[in-house]
């Protein structure tokens, strides 16, 4: 059995823009928000577990389960990437 939790964040501080003394005609540019366009904030949770029970000599029933969950708290150009996968597995194992 194993589990992990990961939190990843990235951001820019506000950009200090020093304008020149002389500008050409109208230069009405607003850079006050561009530092917010690339924020990243992900939280990932993963869990995997498996077990087996012997039913006969050299034969076992196996069962496994896994969870992968991602929370996207700062959507970027790719849209909201939040999603989850829960998988289960059952099988018969023989040793020889």
């Amino acid at each position: 059995m194993d589990a992990s939790w990961t939190r990843s964040e990235g951001s820019f501080s506000s950009i200090e823009l020093v304008l020149p003394e002389q500008t050409v005609t109208d230069a009405d540019y607003d850079f006050s928000q561009i530092h917010t366009y690339s924020d990243l904030d992900y939280t990932t949770l993963e869990f995997h577990a498996s077990g087996s029970r012997q039913i006969r000599e050299a034969t076992s029933l196996t069962l496994g389960v896994g969870v992968i969950d991602l929370d996207d708290d700062a959507s970027w150009v790719y849209g909201n990437l939040s999603g989850s996968v829960v998988y289960t597995r059952a099988g018969l194992e023989t040793s020889f």
Partner: protein, 583 residues
């Protein structure tokens, strides 16, 4: 390499695999076979966007069967390993190895689905507003022709390896081996393909693009060694084939972006317009190369090692060649029981074919037009590099070491200007690093590193930034033009842009320690201070601070807990000159 040639090489390799796998189970006295096989089924429950959470893998909500096999065999001195893991038609792994005293054969296959992103392009949508609110001509727009597209690549990587001992004359201490490696990689699926137009790139159009690429590598080599001397030769061939047709993009009719008129004038400034053309074409590429290595032991525990390699890469569409060769020599010597020194030198050379860029005459037939802007693209790859390294390592006492490293790196690029005031093309970097590592206590170790680097003429973009306002100073080319016409090619950028330092100071401290037998901790902090004060418009500065910590806790034999955190802060500056279109 022809397809027939590849078949003749792969077939004997496959034959050897089958023969050795069968003979591994031969009745040869001591033999054993053991393993496990598992047959089962699996299913997944999916929610939201699965492409990132399950980025590598094909998860489905339907029930699918799977197979796992582990097999170990032994027959005398030969061993067999076989592993199979089949999850579905895409996610599969297979490994086979048969090895003995004279032969080592390996086969490895893995394949999986990799989900890709889909850029929504929603940030590419603006248009200027003139005084009074009327729409202006400066804009950036987008359209997505496949808005619901979910893109992914099926990746397949198959490798086989053969190493066979060769017969040698009796009575010699010579050992010789023949080595062969073959690798076949395939990428098939779909990806997002972006076409840009609206004169240059002010309209972005997203398409679903097909991917079908195959890379095949073949390497053949001979290795030999005898006491104190080793030698090897290796031939390598790579074929990259693009098997997918290129997509097409519709390029708009060129016209004034504000009033929609002046079609003839705007069309005279573009190479193509009002037609559908292929884009994003990936060329087939062939690479052939040779590598020779040799190493020798010298008196007093010294050793020397040398390598020479040469290769040619050819673009099968354009016929352009990139030729590379490199030579390296290194020497190792212990000066005393506690001191050792290593030194090395590398020379690398790259030469890329030039390319003739043939353009139609600019504004052909129009007043003030007819200029010929044909030019020869000389490659920025062309260069000669020299790298020299030296290291002195000394043990102060058991568990305490100091090391001094020096590195010299010279890069002479034939076709890249590095200084606006001269024709110099050589970047020279000197780096000196001092480090200490040692035990602070019985179960604690530490390491400290300090590096100082000086670079003369780092890579920059000469004339890459900022242009003066010309609206009241540009002169017409001849008297036939109105004096207020602006011609793009008359503009002159004067700023040099760069983000590589001329001086850099970097440091790192790391600590590793154990608290009892169950808890282990590591912590580090690295910092750097860099600047380039040789630029003409600004002084570039960058500082980085990165601390981190990790813990490992083993409370019992059956459980392990790990945790960690890393933080990084980067501060830097740049010059920004906003572009202005058409005056």
């Amino acid at each position: 390499m022809t397809r027939m040639c590849r078949r003749w090489i792969v077939a004997p390799l496959a034959g050897i695999l089958l023969v050795t796998a069968a003979s591994a189970a031969a009745d040869d006295g001591s033999e054993a076979v053991e393993g496990t096989v598992s047959v089962g089924g699996h299913a997944s429950d999916l929610e939201g966007t699965v492409g990132k959470a399950g980025e590598f893998g094909l998860y489905r909500e339907s029930i699918e069967s799977d197979l796992r096999l582990d097999l170990l065999g032994r027959s005398g001195t030969r061993n067999l390993e076989l592993r199979l893991d089949v999850e579905n038609e895409i996610d599969r792994n297979a490994f086979l190895r048969v090895h003995g005293p004279q032969l080592d054969v390996r086969f490895d296959h893995q394949s999986f689905r990799h989900w890709l992103d889909h850029d929504r392009l929603e940030n590419v949508e603006f248009r200027e507003a003139l005084a009074g609110g009327a729409p202006g001509g400066k804009m950036a727009t987008h359209e997505d022709l496949d808005p619901d597209g979910v893109y992914g690549i099926d990746y397949t990587d198959t490798r086989s390896h053969l190493a066979a001992q060769l017969p040698v004359p009796e009575g010699t201490d010579l050992a010789a081996r023949f080595v062969a490696d073959f690798r076949d990689m395939r990428r098939q699926g779909t990806k997002q393909s972006l076409g840009v137009d609206h004169c240059s790139n002010c309209h972005v159009r997203s398409h679903a693009g097909r991917v079908d690429e195959r890379t095949r590598d073949l390497a053949l080599g001979l290795e030999g060694e005898r006491e104190g001397f080793a030698f090897s030769y290796r031939f390598a061939a790579r074929d990259f084939d693009n098997l997918a047709a290129a997509g097409t993009n519709r390029y708009m009719q060129a016209r004034h972006p504000g009033n929609g008129g002046s079609e003839d004038e705007f069309a005279s400034r573009t190479i193509y317009e009002n037609e559908e053309l292929t884009f994003g074409q990936v060329p087939d590429v062939e690479k052939r190369g040779h590598t020779v290595r040799a190493s020798a032991d010298l008196p007093r525990s010294q050793s020397v090692r040398g390598t020479f390699s040469m290769s040619t890469v050819e673009n099968q569409v354009t016929g352009l060649d990139l030729q590379a060769n490199a030579a390296a020599l290194s020497w190792f010597a212990p000066l005393s029981k506690r001191t050792r020194v290593t030194a090395g030198v590398v020379r690398r050379e790259l030469e890329n074919d030039p390319y003739d860029v043939d353009l139609p005459l600019w504004r052909d037939g129009r007043a003030g037009g007819g200029q010929d802007f044909d030019w020869v693209r000389e490659s920025a790859y062309d260069r000669v590099e020299w790298i020299g390294t030296a290291r002195l390592a000394h043990t102060l006492r058991p568990g305490q070491n100091v090391r001094l490293d020096y590195r010299f790196h010279s890069t002479d690029r034939d076709n890249v200007l590095l200084d606006p005031d001269s024709d110099k093309t050589r970047t020279t970097r000197n780096r000196l690093k001092a480090s200490w590592s040692g035990s602070l206590a019985r179960k604690a170790r530490s390491r400290v590193e300090v590096t100082y680097e000086m670079t003369d003429l780092p890579f920059v973009a000469v004339g890459g930034l900022c242009e003066p306002a010309l609206s009241d100073s540009v002169m017409p080319i001849d008297d036939s033009q109105p004096s207020d016409w602006i011609y793009y090619f008359q503009r002159e950028r004067y700023g040099t842009g760069g983000n590589l330092p001329t001086k850099a100071l970097r440091g790192r401290v790391q600590f590793d320690g154990s608290v009892g037998p169950k808890l282990h901790a590591s912590a580090y902090v690295s910092a750097s201070d860099e600047k380039n004060d040789d630029l003409n418009l600004y002084d570039f500065e960058r500082s980085v601070l990165s601390p981190g910590v990790s813990l490992l806790f083993v409370p019992t034999e059956a459980a392990i807990f790990t945790g960690g955190a890393a933080y990084s802060r980067i501060e830097s500056n740049a010059k920004l000159c906003a572009t202005v279109m058409d005056g």
